[in-house]
């Protein structure tokens, strides 16, 4: 049975839908109401509060902590300043992605790492020869994601820390109530947002303070269904939905490289040895077989297909993550890749998907054919290849307070 997170007492009282799913061994709310729509709009218009405790969390400390992380991760952690966060992935020796996550530089010799899969074993494998300690704090540190345009204003009311100082992908120590927290300006919604980390014992107090402060800003507790839509809009990939952990698959074809996943920008090649370096250099030179892109699925064509059956176009109630084949525009029998997850974007008013396509079909602007099923019948509609980041509002990076000062 999954475990309750330290916030469960609050989240379960509010979860009227009784709709949970298992997330890394914890109960996680799918949607608090039977309809997730208000939660989604809270993320985009006010603020949504999401329990992210099930993320795997590690404290990496010691004189060589930076060198060690630089060895494991595709990014050069030596360049990550104190108070900054890096989104990245890590690879096996063949340059295939094991997992993606964040590394937060807390103090000179202290880092905080989050991941989607249990990563203690993977990290420990490379600690040899480094003066570093890796502690699994997954079950002792809890986290809340406060995401949405009002999130900064809400946090202003919770802490004395000057929220204007915290830039996009920054992290700081702060006090909320009378206890210590870490606030990182990170999240999985592609919006202005923060993640607040603290010891489990402070969980309920933290929840109450934020919910109380958020009352005037229309805060809503939000579940994973709403999150899934926002993360696809933001073009953020998800392990288990868009790709597999390379150490957990039976066949080579299921492994992907950072370049193929659209995470090439996180790779720093020219530096001291790191996991997968040689393979990644080779791939960078020779080019990748696959590429991860966004798909903008033609709405007019969708309407036409539905109209044939006398139906208005139907929008699926939630994001989907079933693999859907996509075909070449000039040859409807030639499969050129597959979409891994997608959704109707209520903000962009578009039908969007994340897809993994063979080169060169993954060039931005390319047209292809996407499979849809209407009235139990398969049809093809056009889709255009675009950047995965469908939604990228200015407020995500904005620092209004700083600019004024």
């Amino acid at each position: 049975m999954p475990l309750p997170s330290p916030f469960f007492e609050r989240t379960s009282a509010l979860c009227k839908s009784m709709s949970y799913k298992e997330w890394s061994g914890y109960y996680a709310v799918k949607a608090y109401e039977t309809v997730y729509v208000p939660e989604y709009f809270a993320f985009r218009h006010s603020a949504g509060l999401l329990d992210v405790t099930p993320l795997f969390k590690y404290a990496v400390t010691g004189k060589d902590a930076a060198s060690f992380l630089a060895r494991v991760m595709v990014r050069n952690i030596h360049k990550l300043k104190v108070g900054r966060v890096s989104y990245l992935c890590w690879c096996d020796d063949e340059g295939k992605v094991i997992d993606d996550g964040t590394v937060m530089h807390i103090s000179e010799e202290e880092f905080f790492v989050t991941s989607a899969d249990p990563s203690y074993l993977w990290l420990k494998r490379f600690t040899r020869g480094y003066d570093v300690e890796v502690v699994d704090v997954t079950d002792t540190i809890c986290g809340l994601a406060l995401q949405g345009p009002m999130s900064r204003e809400i946090l202003r009311k919770c802490t004395d820390y000057d929220m204007d100082q915290l830039k996009f992908f920054g992290i700081t120590e702060a006090k909320i109530g009378n206890f210590d927290v870490r606030i990182s300006r990170t999240g999985y919604t592609g919006d202005l947002g923060y993640e607040i980390w603290t010891e489990n014992k402070n969980a309920l107090k933290l929840w109450d303070i934020i919910m109380d402060a958020g009352k005037d800003y229309d805060i809503l507790p939000a579940g994973l269904d709403a999150l899934d839509i926002t993360r696809i809009e933001a073009g953020l990939i998800l392990k288990g939905a868009d790709y597999y952990n390379a150490s957990h698959v039976l066949i080579e074809d299921r492994k992907v490289s950072p370049y193929e996943l659209g995470l090439g920008w996180t790779v720093n090649l020219d530096r001291e040895p790191f996991n997968g370096q040689a393979a990644l250099m080779k791939e960078k030179e020779e080019g990748s077989t696959w590429g991860t892109v966004g798909l903008d699925i033609s709405w007019p064509e969708l309407e036409t297909v539905y109209a044939k059956y006398g139906l208005p176009p139907e929008v699926l109630g939630e994001a989907w993550r079933t693999s859907i084949p996509v075909y070449a525009n000039d040859d409807h029998y030639k499969q050129i890749g597959y979409a891994t997850s997608g959704t109707w974007s209520p903000t962009l008013k578009k039908n969007i998907a994340i897809a993994i396509l063979k080169t060169p079909h993954n060039e931005i602007g390319s047209q292809l054919q996407f499979e849809i099923t209407v009235e139990h019948t398969r049809h093809l509609v056009s889709a255009e290849v675009c950047k995965t980041q469908f939604f990228n509002p200015e407020r995500k990076r904005s620092n209004p307070g700083l600019e004024e000062k």
Partner: protein, 529 residues
């Protein structure tokens, strides 16, 4: 007198599967079972009023899915319910280790003993699944004859070679290690905690006279890992109505195809004419003729017992006598008035519903083997218990339970001789119950009935030579083209028209059905009938 196409000697599950395949091919088949019940060692019996026991074999995983499909066994009552948990109780003051189908839960349980082991578990599972893909190519075909240039054998060998190639370099290397290493050494390549290593390594010793540190036991481990239930590798389950349920499904399938089955019809000897088998002589003196005879009895009992040494070539007899049986396990079946309670994890819970393994440490297991090496049963044995009534309530009256305990080591050859077993049977039973009672303090008060099966009993009741549950050890030198005798691995024997189909043939023991299926296919292809 009707002359059958084939007589099957022994109504074990392999004999019944063989009968079903032959009957399905339109042959007239007669199955002769010595006992009053069908199933051989896969048998359910009401030993105590209201309590139906899986007397000998007690769980299933290896039974080949294509046999279920081809013989329509589901239609004939084949039902297997997967087990959810493997529980290893502890006397160290911790709640023991329960491993569940729920991966996150298992990770939490294991991380109490080792965080690394908790996470390496998934990688190990992937490796075993990858290797199991290869074993499918091994167990679902007759063993190739590596000495033959016959196109069929070459093709068979090629297929095996291709299967090895398909594994890829990493798995090929791992496979070599698997075939040669000990269970403990093999598992130690991934795991560090004894609390995990001990219960995992026992799969490597089941039915063999080896210890968990003996080289070669890693393969036996795989033999227990290559099963699948509904496409899920490595899962084990309970057969509805006990393991006899599987045999009965096979019997009904065979009958549906026209096979005839007789119980209490023990075969005394194979009737021969000019060096060929032409039928059987029953214990009551009746003679029945057939074009071929297929024996589900083990090679020793069939060839040395029913045919007789004098009718066999010398080198075959030598080969047979070198084939190791030396049973190493016993069975204790308990009827319980209620549920046992574990001191380390009190109360009712899912941990009672699956495998309960008494394997506290590697040294414990190795010491248990030490006792056996010198001709004693283990003072502190490895025990694998299940309480099938928590999954299949039809086996006992409401609120009452059955506990089935597989016990190792119980060497057939006691220091004072195998025939001293009857005199020590209850002492052996006490040892088992006392060991279990350390973990389950209320156990003794619950026992309504106890059946103790020593290897000597397994031999006398089920006809398993020296009480070996696999009709011969599953060690590398007794597998594939060397099972049971080098050069005689394709179900044939030196006696024309006499065939073998039991666990003593490739690919070996367990409720797997392959011996029955592959022998039938080989017979039909050879046009012997």
């Amino acid at each position: 007198m009707t002359k059958y196409d084939a007589i099957i000697v022994g109504g074990g599950h392999n004999g019944l599967v063989c009968a079903a395949y032959l009957a399905k091919a339109g042959k007239s088949v007669l199955v002769l079972e010595k006992r009053h019940v069908l199933g051989g060692a896969a048998v359910s019996e009401e030993l105590y009023p209201g309590f139906t026991f899986s007397v000998a074999s007690y769980v299933v995983s290896l039974f080949r899915p294509h046999i279920i499909r081809e013989l329509e066994l589901a239609k004939h009552g084949y039902e297997v319910i997967p087990m959810d948990c493997t529980f290893t109780p502890s006397l160290n003051g911790d709640p023991g280790l329960a491993r569940w189908a729920d991966a996150s839960l298992t990770r939490r349980e294991v991380s109490r003993f080792s965080r690394k082991d908790a996470e390496v578990y998934g990688e190990f599972a992937i490796a075993m699944t990858a290797i199991s893909k290869f074993t499918k190519d091994v167990i679902d075909y007759p063993a190739p004859d590596i000495t033959s240039y016959h196109p069929r054998e070459l093709k068979n060998l090629m297929r095996l070679g291709e299967a090895v190639k398909k594994l890829g370099p990493e798995m090929m290397h791992l496979n070599t290690k698997l075939l040669t290493m000990s269970a403990v050494d093999f598992l130690s390549m991934w795991f560090e905690s004894e609390r995990l290593l001990a219960p995992m390594s026992v799969s490597g010793i089941i039915g063999t006279f080896q210890g968990v540190r003996s080289p070669g036991t890693a393969y036996v481990l795989l033999h227990h890992y290559m099963g699948e239930l509904d496409g899920a590798y490595r899962s084990w389950g309970f057969s509805k109505g006990g393991t006899g349920g599987i045999s009965m499904a096979c019997a009904r399938a065979a009958e549906s195809f026209g096979a005839e089955i007789r119980t209490e019809a023990g075969v005394e000897s194979i009737k021969m004419k000019n060096g060929r088998a032409i039928g059987v002589v029953l214990e009551n003196g009746d003679e029945i003729e057939a074009k071929i005879v297929v024996s589900n009895a083990d090679p020793n009992r069939t060839m040395l017992g029913m045919v007789g040494e004098r009718n066999l070539p010398e080198d075959y007899v030598i080969g047979l006598k070198r084939f190791k049986y030396r049973g190493s396990s016993g069975k204790v079946n308990l009827a319980l008035d209620g549920l046992p309670d574990f001191a380390c994890r009190p109360g009712f819970g899912g941990h009672l519903k699956g495998d309960i393994t008494i394997a506290p440490s590697i040294n414990y297991l190795e010491k248990a083997y030490d006792d056996a090496k010198y001709g004693n049963f283990s003072e502190h044995p490895f025990i694998d218990c299940v309480i099938p009534t928590l999954t299949d309530p039809s086996l006992a009256p409401p609120g009452k339970h059955i506990m089935s305990c597989f016990v190792q080591y119980a060497p057939y050859h006691l220091k004072e001789g195998a025939d001293t077993w009857p005199g020590r049977r209850e002492e052996f039973g006490d040892t088992v119950v006392n060991t279990l009672a350390e973990y389950m303090p209320n156990l003794k008060d619950l026992i309504l009935y106890r059946q103790v099966l020593t290897p000597w009993d397994l031999e006398k009741t089920f006809g398993l030579t020296e009480g070996n549950i696999f009709q011969g050890e599953l060690s590398l030198e007794q597998l594939l083209f060397q099972r049971p005798v080098a050069g005689w691995s394709s179900y044939q024997t030196p006696i024309k028209d006499l065939w073998l189909c039991g666990s003593g043939t490739h690919p070996g023991g367990g409720i797997i059905g392959s011996g029955g299926e592959l022998s039938a296919r080989t017979i039909l292809r050879s046009r012997a009938i």
